[in-house]
Amino acid sequence: MKRLSRYRRHKAAGPLLLIFALLAIGTTFSVASATVKESQSVSARSASIDEGKQIFLKGCSSCHGLNAEGGAIAPSLIGVGAASVDFQVGTGRMPMADMSTQAARKAPVYNEEETAALAAYVASLAPGPSIPEESALNYERDGNSAQGGELFRNNCAMCHNFAGQGGALTQGKYAPTLMGVEPKHIYEAMITGPQSMPVFSDKTITPAEKLSLIKWIKAAEAEPNLGGATMGRIGPVTEGLLAWVLGIGLLIGIAVWLTTRAR
């Protein structure tokens, strides 16, 4: 100890001590925090899987089966992944309001926690696409809207219309409008292919391209009506209607007025 204390006032002692202290604190903290997080996460997950299972049994199993194995009227959910559940439940499509042509977007029935629990439960059945991380959805930073527009016209416009307003499919099915859809849900729809939509895997459209697409859709949503009233951005049908009803209607009205005899 004496020898050690002799170097107490050595000029290198201060910096060395500082480094030692920093290392000690850093290591302790990282080890401690990692273990804490891990243990919390594991327990939370199992808890949320249990919770999700309870919700599933109450709200979903009558169609999808007690073990999510599917049935005559609903598909199996084994292997559809958390992303699928988050999309279907998060956009209100599931649980379905009625068994008609397809599940419509509506106000979600379950809150965020319940949705997450359901997603965790379904994900625990078999591996599948997972919910994209918040950090992987920064489309404003990572996307390119011109490229996104080109991708949109190549892959999406044939069903969702040139401005993402939606369009008709066969037998009463439809591609819904993309206006007002959360970026996370757009992303999930692409990786899971809900209902009539095909899956756009990361090989077909890379994650970066997916962000470009989302950026373009969000830009189209926010775009002001540059030429005046848009009448739905659905092309010439409403334009023709307006030409007849307002245009010819007004002109005939004025022609009648012009040829009315003064009384």
Binding site: S145, N154, F162, G167, A175, A220, A229, V237, A255, R261
Partner: protein, 528 residues
């Protein structure tokens, strides 16, 4: 005479001595035009055509009719850096960077839509009132020519910006041309300068759209209007109006003031709609690439019925001698429109053959008094409306929660059933209206006032109608069927028995009407 008057007088004689125009001007200025709102539909066509010429000229100043590839560097962010044709890029520039450019584009497009709508409305008025009868058959044919030219000109016009929607329209156009047997492929190659899309169609369409077709338009419109001038305008029947006079306002000042003012009204309404409502937002469609398409791709409304006919055609094809004949395109897009337009153009002659009426007509028919023609018109409208509905089947399906397949089947069956049904219903309605006219003339108008007679009977009091109205109700001619014998006076069969039979049948159907009130009947009523 003041010095000013003298000077003007001198100038006028100077011109008149050289041109001899005074007599013509004097005669023309005293020309009379009858007054009715439906007579102004043709004016709407002419005025919107003038607006189209003016706004179109403005657009040519900046439009670059070229398919040269350019990289877009303009102000519209979502397309920045994309490769596109110079035509599309310059249309974007007109929309966003030329002062007033977007408004001019919208005026041009809205004016085109209203131009076509006004042509159709004008055509319907002329048809339903029988204004196409002798001596105006040629002018009717010129009108059909103008309608056809308008369809083509409109299609070429919305194809010019080279956006995704217009390219889709051209793709379908090239498919329709290719569906014509034997020569179709060659015509398509000739028009597009090779396989679709090629690199030359925009400059070609441009020349047709801004030079050739407007030139033909101007010439035909001039003849059309000059014929109206020369043959005089038709008029509705009424007191003091005969086949030999025209009752109305002289050109100066009343008619001129009204017509001149009406031009500004038409311009004002088109400008108003263009200022508040977007049309053909090409920046949203994106540049045309053959590999891309948008859901709900539709043509402008006047082409929509053709698109609807193609959409409802079942997939019929035959393969013979190494050639494919696509009946599913050939029938709805070439044969049916061909029959419709030829039939329309020839209708004045067909009707005069059926009725055997070769006289001149300057007084118009009230549609109810010619039930067969009116029913035929409504039948045609029904046909086009069903086709038009099917043309927008995808838009209807999404907006009204319907199935696109149901709409298609409705149209497929309806196109055969509903037009004949509407024919029958319209004919019945016309006859009922004639019966009502007869009642009105014989018994007067119902007042809704009930009277109880001393012996307890209730009667409704009828008020006599005005002499003008009474005149109108009995001024039309009674339709009579042609009497065609199969054998002549000596009992020998006349040639063309089948033709005679057809003419007799059609003539009989055409002449179905309620008997007119006779003078004798009126007298009896008066003495009653």
């Amino acid at each position: 005479m003041t010095s000013t008057e003298k000077r003007i007088g001198n100038a006028a004689s100077f011109v008149d001595e050289r041109l001899g125009a005074a007599r013509w001007v004097k005669k023309s200025l005293n020309k009379v035009f009858p007054d009715h709102w439906s007579f102004m539909l043709g004016e709407v066509c002419m005025y919107s055509f003038i607006i189209l010429l003016l706004s179109g000229t403005f657009l040519t100043f900046w439009f670059d009719p070229s398919q040269r590839d350019v990289i877009y560097e303009g102000v519209y962010e979502p397309l920045k850096g994309l490769k596109m044709s110079a035509a599309y890029a310059s249309t974007l520039d007109i929309s966003f960077e030329v002062r007033g450019g977007l408004l001019m584009r919208q005026i041009h497009h809205w004016a085109a839509n209203i131009f076509m709508a006004a042509i159709v409305a004008h055509l319907l008025r002329v048809f339903f009132t029988g204004a196409f009868r002798k001596p105006r058959e040629f002018n009717w044919i010129l009108g059909i020519l103008l309608l056809t030219l308008g369809l083509v000109e409109g299609l070429l016009g919305y194809s010019l910006p080279d956006d995704l929607l217009s390219g889709t329209g051209l793709r379908i156009t090239s498919a329709i041309i290719q569906a014509i047997p034997v020569v179709g492929t060659y015509i398509s190659f000739f028009l597009f300068g090779g396989a679709f899309p090629g690199v030359g169609f925009i400059p070609r369409i441009f020349t047709l759209h801004i030079l050739i077709i407007p030139g033909i338009f101007l010439a035909v419109i001039t003849i059309h209007v000059m014929l109206v001038w020369y043959q005089k305008h038709t008029q509705f029947p009424g007191v003091g109006r005969t086949e030999n006079n025209v009752v109305g306002h002289p050109i100066l000042p009343v008619y001129m003031a009204k017509a001149g003012g009406f031009f500004f009204v038409v311009f004002g309404i088109i400008a108003f709609i263009s200022a508040v409502a977007s049309i053909n937002p090409i920046w949203l469609y994106g540049p045309y690439t053959p590999g891309q398409i948008s859901a709900g791709s539709q043509p402008d409304w006047y082409m929509g019925w053709l698109d609807g006919l193609v959409r409802m055609a079942p997939p019929l094809e035959t393969h013979a001698f190494g050639h494919t004949i696509s009946w599913n395109i050939l029938i709805p897009a070439v044969i049916v429109p061909g029959i419709i337009f030829t039939g329309m153009a020839l209708y004045p002659f067909i009707e005069s053959w059926i009725t055997g009426d070769k006289r001149e007509h300057h007084l118009l028919d009230r549609p109810r008094n010619v039930p067969n023609r009116t029913a035929l018109g409504v039948m045609s409208i029904t046909f086009v409306m069903i086709s038009l509905i099917n043309g927008g089947n995808d838009i209807l399906a999404t907006n009204f929660d319907l199935s696109i397949n149901q709409i298609m089947w409705f149209s497929r069956i309806g196109i055969f059933i509903l037009p004949p049904l509407s024919f029958i219903i319209t004919k019945r309605l016309c006859l009922s209206l004639q019966r009502a006219d007869r009642e009105l003339l014989l018994h007067g108008a119902e007042t809704g006032r009930l009277l109880r007679l001393p012996h307890g009977e209730f009667v409704e009091v009828h008020a006599p109608i005005s002499p003008e109205k009474a005149y109108l109700l009995q001024s039309h001619e009674q339709l009579v069927a042609l009497e065609i014998e199969d054998v002549d006076g000596r009992g020998v069969r006349r040639p063309g028995a089948l033709k005679n039979k057809l003419q007799r049948r059609l003539s009989k159907a055409h002449a179905v009407s309620v008997p007119k009130v006779t003078e004798q009947e009126l007298k009896e009523i008066e003495n009653h």
